[in-house]
């Protein structure tokens, strides 16, 4: 099939359908309302469920209920909406239910603004909800990668019985780019008979399944948390994804950048290369698990003088970059946060300023 030109938000909705997810619950919020608009039309066409909840809190628990029953399910929202889903995310993670959340991030904190932002890095990778849980977090840099990550998210959520979060931004949601929906990323929902409350008749069993997150006994709770930790450790071994750029050169600067802003960095790197100034980039595609080893290795190269975390926030990912570099090189940060995305020229000036320091 050839490529078609699609808006990011619509492509995300279509990708979920192509991935075999026929349940979508959501509450509208800019800058991702087109996902709901698109799926309100498309889901009935494919025999799926489109349901607008009365709030994001309700939507979070609709996902919990449907996922607990063994259905493939997903939602999309934006920053404040994801905050309201935080409690459900914690419960879903503890109860080990697979579900996919897409956050088309808007500027914060508070009501903030609707322009592109990456200010929910901490929320996605470190918490958002309460308790010892982790999400598998992926961040696309364009519409095609958003499609692929959404399609990959469902089998990954089932592999780990854990929510997967896709972190996009308003520009990825609003822009149109040519996309294709790769056949090899289509997947069948996994068999969930051994844990889901999908009906004893359905699974022809006399055993009851119980989906819960309450463990009042200290020993049982700790044991449960060890089970969860083992899954997060396995993600760190098996799911780290990143893209190196211009890494085979004697670069003086290593950029770590993800999502839409990494594309601006790529153009800056190309332009600097034309001047004879080599800069490399590690672009994390998964934010949790974080490509710690790749960043440490790239930072350790003899020619590399400084590592710069470039992000659309006031300094969030930089903490993970510092943690990864282990003090082997100085780590700097550059970020913008109001919604204005810096130009390649601005990035070039920033990079040069860090080298001449």
């Amino acid at each position: 099939m050839g490529k078609i030109l699609m808006k990011g938000n619509e492509a995300i909705g279509e990708a979920a359908i192509r991935a075999g997810c026929l349940n979508y619950f959501a509450y509208p919020i800019t800058p991702q309302s087109e996902v709901a608009e698109y799926l309100s039309r498309r889901m009935p066409e494919v025999g799926g469920v489109f349901l607008q909840g009365e709030s994001e809190i309700a939507v979070g628990y609709m996902l919990f209920g449907a996922a607990g029953c063994g259905a493939r399910v997903f939602t999309t929202s934006s920053s404040p909406g994801i905050s309201l889903m935080g409690e459900a995310l914690s419960y879903i993670s503890s109860a080990q239910c697979p579900a996919v959340f897409v956050n088309i991030v808007r500027g914060g904190p508070g009501l903030g603004g609707i322009l592109p932002s990456q200010a929910d890095y901490f929320q996605a990778t470190k918490g958002g909800g309460h308790g010892d849980y982790r999400l598998l977090v992926m961040a696309p840099d364009g519409v095609q990668e958003a499609v692929e990550m959404v399609m990959m998210a469902f089998p990954l959520a089932e592999k780990y019985r854990n929510p997967v979060m896709i972190l996009g931004d308003g520009l990825i949601g609003q822009m149109m780019e040519p996309v294709e929906f790769p056949d090899h990323l289509k997947s069948e929902p996994s068999n969930k008979d051994d844990w889901a409350t999908n009906g004893m008749d359905t699974r022809k069993s006399n055993e009851r399944n119980l989906v819960k997150s309450l463990f009042l006994n200290a020993e049982l709770l700790e044991e449960h948390n060890r089970v969860l930790k083992a899954k997060y450790d396995r993600m760190k071994k098996e799911e780290v994804r990143y893209e190196p750029y211009n890494i085979d050169t004697d670069y003086q600067v290593l950029i770590v950048s993800y999502g839409i802003i990494s594309r601006v960095c790529r153009t800056a790197i190309d332009n600097l290369k034309a001047e004879g100034f080599e800069v490399a980039m590690i672009r994390p595609k998964t934010l949790f698990p974080f490509p710690e080893k790749a960043i440490e290795e790239a930072a350790s190269k003899d020619s590399c003088k400084v590592v710069v975390s470039i992000e659309l926030s006031m300094g969030q990912m930089v903490e993970d970059v510092e943690r990864s570099v282990h003090g082997k090189r100085p780590v700097q940060w550059f970020g913008r946060s109001g919604g204005d995305i810096p130009t390649p020229e601005e990035i070039i000036d920033v990079i040069k300023s860090f080298v001449t320091l």
Partner: protein, 183 residues
Amino acid sequence: MQSEVMFAGFGGQGILLIGDILAHAAMEEGFEVAWIPSYGPEMRGGTAYCLVVISDRPIGSPIIRNPMHLIAMNRPSLEKFAPMLKPNGIVVINSSLISIGSGRDDVDELLVPANDIAGDLGSTKAANIVALAAFVARSKIVDFEILRQCVKKVFSSKENLISLNLKALEQGKEAAQVKNPGP
């Protein structure tokens, strides 16, 4: 080689649509494309604009402060975006509604009375297609025949509009052949 085309006017002039058509045509021709709409809080009657980036290699930053070309359908758009253009681009000015020039001597300025041409064809709504055709004919940014096919496809569900818009395409193309006397 990368070109950026800014389409700008007021809401209702079909600005996003002609950007969409050009992006489709460029994709059909095998280019990498990105279509970025005006996006942000906007009031009724405000400006509408979109940017189409066309490149022969993967598009890095889709954020362009200084586009190459401009299709200005109303005066505020011309005043806002003309100063930002890179040198040597094309500026299509809808001279039916805009009485001033771009004020730039380093661009190829093309005056197209798009509303008048479209009105003569039967509907001023086709002014956007006239302007798009003039730009494509002048810039040769995509093959004109591919553009024609894309216009047909876009209006395929509204058959009564196909012939109007195909005529608008031809008239726009013709308007681009005229060498302007300059402002």
